[in-house]
Amino acid sequence: MQKFSALALLRHAFGGHEGWRPQWRSPEPKGTYDVVIVGGGGHGLATAYYLAKEFGISNVAVLEKGWIGGGNTGRNTTIIRSNYLFDESVALYDHAVKLWEALSQALNYNVMFSQRGVIMLAHNVHDQQSLKRHIHANRLNGVDNEWLTASDAKAFCPPLNIENSMRYPVIGAALQRRGGVARHDAVAWGYARAADALGVDIVENCAVTAIRRGVNGALEGIETTRGTIETRKVGVVTAGNTSTVMAMADLRMPLESYPLQALVSEPVKPIFPCVVMSNTIHAYISQSDKGELVIGAGTDAYVSYTQRGGLHVPMHTLEAICELFPIFRRLRMLRNWGGIVDVTPDRSPIIGKTPVPGLYVNCGWGTGGFKATPGSGHLFAWTLAKDEPHPINAPFRLDRFRDGYLIDEAAAAAVAH
């Protein structure tokens, strides 16, 4: 691996920058692997990286149907936070935030992680009570979260409108200072490069077509569009397409796939210092380092794999954005797109074993998986390597939907994970 540093930059400058090599190889898939990861998004690549780095398993392939960073990793709004309500969720998401804090150094790749603070707005008494409950729950778990009055929120985020003339005036906000954003492409590329350097094969343009099982039901291998691969362990990390892949092993998942839309504005000078979310009037917004305002809209109402949705969904969000930030009313929007998110009944992910021996799944991150990328990869790698869940992901098992131990963040946070 070519190490990135100021010195390397200088050295390559003298060579006219022609000496840079591709950041990962494009190997032909081998016939056998110790572990195969299906899905080359952030979570899958992170899983492969931690398998090689922490657990010494480097005979690993990551199979990606399209190209690295072309799925939900490149389609999300990059918000990172860990202010969830339940103990299990806080442990899971804060595990990720801690890894985010050291990720650029660990990968030797600038993922542009910026802890600029995430504020969640309260517009009515219910919001206020709910956010304060989150704040207290988080602080009991050692996770930072604090209450801001409306004028404190305005001081923290000057473009915010706190006038009483709004239809839903801002009456306060919860602030997680350790929350923020990261560069989503860099996360995929950084993990891919680091995993590749440790010997992981990253195979793009390779879709899984069948899962082979022996007479005892255990996994024996998979068929792909680039040949058959023998393996005893497969980790499926395919987000919106998880139901389709798991159906190859005759498993019916507690998942539904919805389009989630986002959009960016034309780039403007730095004006927006933090991340602002409003669950009640449904809007979230931050500014990328390129200057675009990154705006998250909601999911469409129906199951779909189209990676696009109805225009009324982003319009609804833009109405809220214009009310909250009148300064943005005349900005033009540049792009609008959708990603397919796999939503569980309790809006919490599934990370663990399946009824098929040798088949593992990491899915159900719904509308909020990006923030968990490093933690999700680390915990899933642990589960694959040791054949048992890490204490943090043990509650997020698949059979909680049989036993009734749901982690109901849906009711706790209403929307916008």
């Binding site: 397409n241 139901s243 389709t244 798991m246 159906a247 019916r252 998942m253 507690p254 998942l255 539904e256 796939s257 109402a301 129906y302 199951v303 779909s304 794999y305 189209t306 109805g310 225009l311 009324h312 009944p345 059979d399 939907f401 049989r402 036993d403 009734g404």
Partner: protein
């Protein structure tokens, strides 16, 4: 925005409707005889197919009635809408669809 053909009112914009999830999930005939595994599957298991999907819609801001629809989840085109209690119509699976 989808244009949805309500079997009672005709074609109306999506905003008049509420999506109501996968269709033809029958409540178990003998609930007390059911084990945890089967209950879990009934409550939470979903086909979520990449292809033709049978689903319920409710014409909330119209006639208020529920009905079923067949829609291709790879391009969101409706193949049919039909009344509750009617059989799922036979329509061709779209090309490249994968049954889940």
């Amino acid at each position: 925005m989808l244009l949805i053909d309500c079997p009672f009112c005709g074609k109306r914009p999506e905003l008049e409707f509420r999506y109501a999830g996968e269709a033809h999930i029958a409540r178990p005939a003998d609930p007390s005889g059911l084990g945890d595994e089967a209950w879990g599957r009934f409550l939470y298991g979903r086909g979520n197919p990449r292809g033709m999907h049978a689903e319920r819609w409710r014409h909330l801001n119209g006639c208020g009635r529920f009905f079923n629809a067949l829609r291709d989840t790879t391009d969101d085109r409706f193949a049919a809408t039909y009344k509750i209690g009617e059989e799922r119509p036979m329509v061709a699976e779209p090309q490249g669809a994968r049954k889940a």
